[in-house]
């Protein structure tokens, strides 16, 4: 019993820290609210989708930026997609990075774009690892027989 409480406490602490540090925002809470008995893995599914999508987009972006003749519109489109995805799941920092990226695209600043791509990649990997840790903790709590405390 104590183990479950401890795990739950850890989970809550970790979750709170994610919100405090700006990795996640209210949209993520909305997602969690959509998860119920008829849809028990909704959050994990959406987040996995996000990971796949973002990985693909980042690869595309890396390719596009390496081209000799840069098509900024294409780059912008990809970033727009990434921004949309990240805002849908509440990955606040990724979203912010994307907004900056789009600004550089608008002014067609190549250096800026490259820097931003790096920034976005960093933020993405950060939030990815955070979310994976979060899911692991949730799994631990569930495996121990407890329930996930709702925010």
């Amino acid at each position: 019993m104590d183990g479950i409480v401890e795990l739950q406490r850890q989970l809550v602490e970790y979750t709170t820290s994610l919100y405090d540090e700006g990795f996640l925002d209210d949209q993520f809470i909305q997602l969690q609210q959509l998860q119920d008995e008829s849809n028990p893995d909704f959050v994990v599914e959406v987040v996995s989708l996000f990971f796949e999508d973002s990985q693909r987009l980042l690869n595309e972006l890396a390719n596009s930026l390496e081209q000799q003749s840069l098509d900024f519109r294409r780059v912008d489109a990809h970033v727009h997609q990434l921004k949309g995805s990240s805002s849908s799941i509440g990955a606040q920092r990724v979203q912010g990075a994307c907004i900056m990226f789009r600004n550089y695209c608008e002014v067609q600043n190549v250096e800026g774009c490259l820097k931003c791509l790096q920034h976005v990649k960093n933020e993405y990997s950060l939030v990815k690892s955070k979310l994976e840790t979060l899911f692991k903790l949730e799994q631990q709590v569930l495996a121990a027989g407890g329930t996930i405390p709702m925010p």
Binding site: D53, H80, G84, I89
Partner: protein, 740 residues
């Protein structure tokens, strides 16, 4: 003894003398050598002694003297020149040192003397400080006493305890012989002895308040020494033998409440004081010290505060008890009233039923009788019976209605009805009677009067009938005009009814109806009585009147229930009268008819929170936001289909879909165009699904564009569950949504 170089035999008789001199010189030398040793020892021991240098000089002087005497020992006999030289040197040195010492002493002696003076001065200072210490200690003790006294006094909220404790503690602290408290009587003209320390039962002495000694005490907040012979101090019969101790009196202000019997509320302006008298033991030499007087003054103040606290507490306890009593009484009264009301209702219900049944029987049978063959006189009689019994039936119903109205158990039956039709029906009902009396009735409905309204149709008709009926009843000839219009807020306020504040709102309007007749009019004095039940003015009790006097009372109740107001204006007898009432009616939903045609399309869309089975199409090319939006809608119970491109959307959309959510920020897809195409696909408005744009920015340009292409709404992404719920309910209710 002179020393010479010649060899002469010494006098043998002087040998003895010489021996003695020899021995004495020896001892002197010894002493002279030992004294410095002692001095050195002494100096070493006392580090404080300031004149060490002098002692060293003394030491040197003594040592040299000793040396001189020691060397003398060799001069008694033949001695060499060396000895003589040494002797001389020693003597010279000795002379030197002694002279120096002597000079030194001249400087030192004044200092030594002044040391003594300083010592005396310090002793005096020490004595002074001792005295001051004594004073401070006394003060601190007084302070302690005050604190202790205050603590004792303030530790209780019971007045008697406070006063008794004060006297006891003061008596103890100051070792008083007697301590007494004089309280002002209710009138304030006398002081009554209320408490004493030693006397067990004070015999209620009183002294008038206006005595000079008492005034003197009351005029200052200090403790005042008074004569032991003054009336307040004479508490026991004076035996000639003792010398009464000093007496001090101090005033105790009684804040707010004057005396022990608190049943009236004295004015705050008259400050009332009690008098505290303290007597030192007689036959003792004690006098009142300043610190003791201060103590007394402080205590008097504290007592005043403690007393007022106690008084206030008592007062509030009394008030609370009174309130509790009143509450109990009120509760009882309320329960009695409720019982009475219930009893009356039961009675009325029973009576209504009991009276109604025979009534209906009479009416029914009389009507039947009417149908049979009757002679003219019989017919007349039967008609009279019928009329009277109808009236009686109406009366019984009215009484029941009124009683139900009065205790608020009547509720309006709200529903949507045709307002225009209502007026026409009233007109139709009244027309026969009016035409019999040759009265002209006109109806005018304002053009902005809504066709449909929400309210209690039956009772509104009842009110209208009553008012119009009265107009007809009390007019012998002429015309009656019935007009209805929507009241604007300025005209709603009737200066005669200052507490009627109609508040127009978006889904209500105020209906104003005026019935003007040119009949007998009403005396302005009688107007207020019109609406009171069973009251009939003199002028109304003509043979024309066959009303019970209840009708208008009931109308007033109905109108009040409809949050309105009714009144009658008349210029006087014979000048006709105008009855006006204003009631609040609801405006029915605009999309009433549309809603009706909506029903076959989808189930359960009148419940705002139940979107079960609502068919929705979501178009979004971003997989993540697509699944999020889908999850949202599924959570709310919708049946969701998702597409990721414009073509797919156009292919998938059918009449069955009620709402389409489309992301208009999709690159390469013109959401607006899709909207236009959807419009083309479904020509009939009620077949077309509602189109809502999902976008990340809601600036004016985007919104206007959406409006132009015919979208029904715009929502800002990301959408929360609550927002989606509100959006869907707004959409389905009003078929339009543009959020700010």
């Amino acid at each position: 003894m002179e020393s010479c170089n010649c060899i002469e035999p010494q006098w043998p008789a002087d040998e003895l003398l010489m021996k003695y001199q020899y021995i004495s010189d020896f001892f002197i030398a010894l002493a002279y050598f030992s004294i410095p040793l002692e001095l050195i020892y002494f100096v070493k021991k006392s580090a404080v002694f300031p004149y060490r240098w002098v002692l060293v000089q003394f030491g040197a002087f003594i040592v040299l003297c000793g040396a001189t005497h020691l060397i003398n020992l060799w001069t008694f006999n033949m001695h060499s020149r060396t000895v003589a030289v040494v002797m001389t040197t020693a003597k010279v040195l000795t002379a030197l040192v002694s002279c120096v010492t002597a000079l030194m002493l001249v400087h030192i002696i004044p200092d030594l003397l002044s040391v003594k003076t300083r010592e005396l001065f310090l002793k005096n200072k020490a004595a002074e400080l001792d005295r001051e210490m004594g004073l401070i200690r006394t003060q601190e003790e007084t302070g302690r006493h005050v604190r202790m006294l205050t603590h004792e006094i303030r530790s209780t909220l019971d007045r008697h305890t406070i006063l008794k404790t004060t006297l006891v503690e003061l008596g103890r602290t100051l070792a008083l012989e007697e301590c007494a408290l004089w309280m002002p009587t209710r009138t304030g003209l006398e002081l009554q002895l209320s408490y004493t320390l030693r006397h067990q039962n004070p015999v209620g002495f009183t002294v008038p308040t206006q005595l000079p000694v008492i005034n003197q005490v009351f005029n200052t907040n200090r403790a005042v020494k008074i004569s032991p012979n003054s009336p307040v101090a004479r508490l026991r019969p004076i035996a000639a033998k003792y010398m009464p101790g000093e007496v001090v009196a101090v005033r105790v202000p009684l804040l707010h409440l004057s005396n022990f019997q608190i049943y009236d509320w004295p004015e705050l302006s008259t400050k009332r004081y009690a008098l505290m008298v303290l007597m030192l033991p007689s036959d003792s030499a004690r006098k009142w010290h300043v610190h003791e007087l201060e103590l007394v003054e402080v205590v008097a103040d504290q007592v005043a505060v403690a007393l007022s606290h106690a008084a206030i507490l008592e007062e509030s306890m009394r008030a609370r008890d009174l309130l509790i009593e009143q509450n109990v009484a009120l509760d009882l009264a309320r329960r009695e009233a409720e019982t009475a009301v219930r009893a009356r209702n039961d009675f009325l219900a029973v009576m209504n039923h009991e009276m109604g049944t025979p009534m209906h029987a009479i009416i029914a049978v009389s009507s039947l009788l009417q149908e049979t063959e009757l002679t003219p006189e019989q017919r007349l009689m039967v008609e009279t019976i019928l009329k009277s019994s109808n009236l009686l039936a109406t009366l019984i119903n009215d009484v029941l209605d009124l009683s139900r109205l009065e205790d608020g158990s009547l509720q309006l039956d709200i529903g949507t009805f045709n307002l225009h039709a209502l007026f026409k029906e009233v007109l139709n009902l009244i027309k026969p009677i009016a035409s019999v009396k040759k009265l002209l009735i006109t109806l005018s409905l304002a053009s902005d009067l809504p066709e449909y309204a929400v309210g209690d149709e039956k009772r509104l008709m009842q009110t209208l009938l009553n008012v119009v009926g009265n107009a007809v009843k009390f007019s012998k000839d002429g015309s009656i005009s019935l007009s209805a219009f929507v009241a604007k807020s300025e005209s709603l306020r009737d200066p005669r009814v200052p507490d009627f504040f109609p508040v127009p709102s978006d889904n209500h309007f105020y209906l104003r109806v005026q019935v003007k007749d040119s009949g007998s009019g009403i005396n302005p004095q009688d107007i207020p009585k019109l609406f009171t039940k069973f009251a009939q003015g003199q002028s109304l009790a003509t043979k024309n009147s066959d009303g019970s006097g209840l009708g208008l009372a009931i109308c007033k109740r109905f109108v009040n229930l409809m949050e309105g107001h009714i009144w009658i204006e008349s210029e006087g007898l014979g000048k006709g009268s105008t009855a006006i009432f204003v009631v609040k009616l609801g405006i029915p939903e605009r999309s009433n008819e549309l809603k009706l045609s909506f029903v076959p399309k989808g189930p359960a869309n009148h419940g705002q929170t139940n979107f079960l089975g609502l068919k929705v199409l979501v178009m979004d090319d971003n997989g993540v936001s697509r699944s999020v939006t889908k999850g949202l809608l599924v959570h709310l119970g919708c049946d969701v289909m998702t597409v990721s491109s414009g073509d797919e959307c156009l292919r998938a959309i059918t009449q069955e879909h009620q709402v389409v959510f489309m992301d208009i920020c999709m690159p390469g897809v013109d959401g607006y165009e899709i909207a236009v195409r959807i419009h083309e696909m479904f020509s009939k408005r009620h077949e077309r699904p509602l189109i809502v744009a999902l976008t990340g920015n809601t600036d004016r340009v985007t919104k206007e564009h959406c409006l132009r292409v015919g979208m029904d709404g715009v929502i800002l992404k990301p959408v929360s569950v609550d927002k989606m719920r509100i959006v869907l309910s707004e959409l389905l209710e009003h078929r339009v949504l543009f959020e700010a």
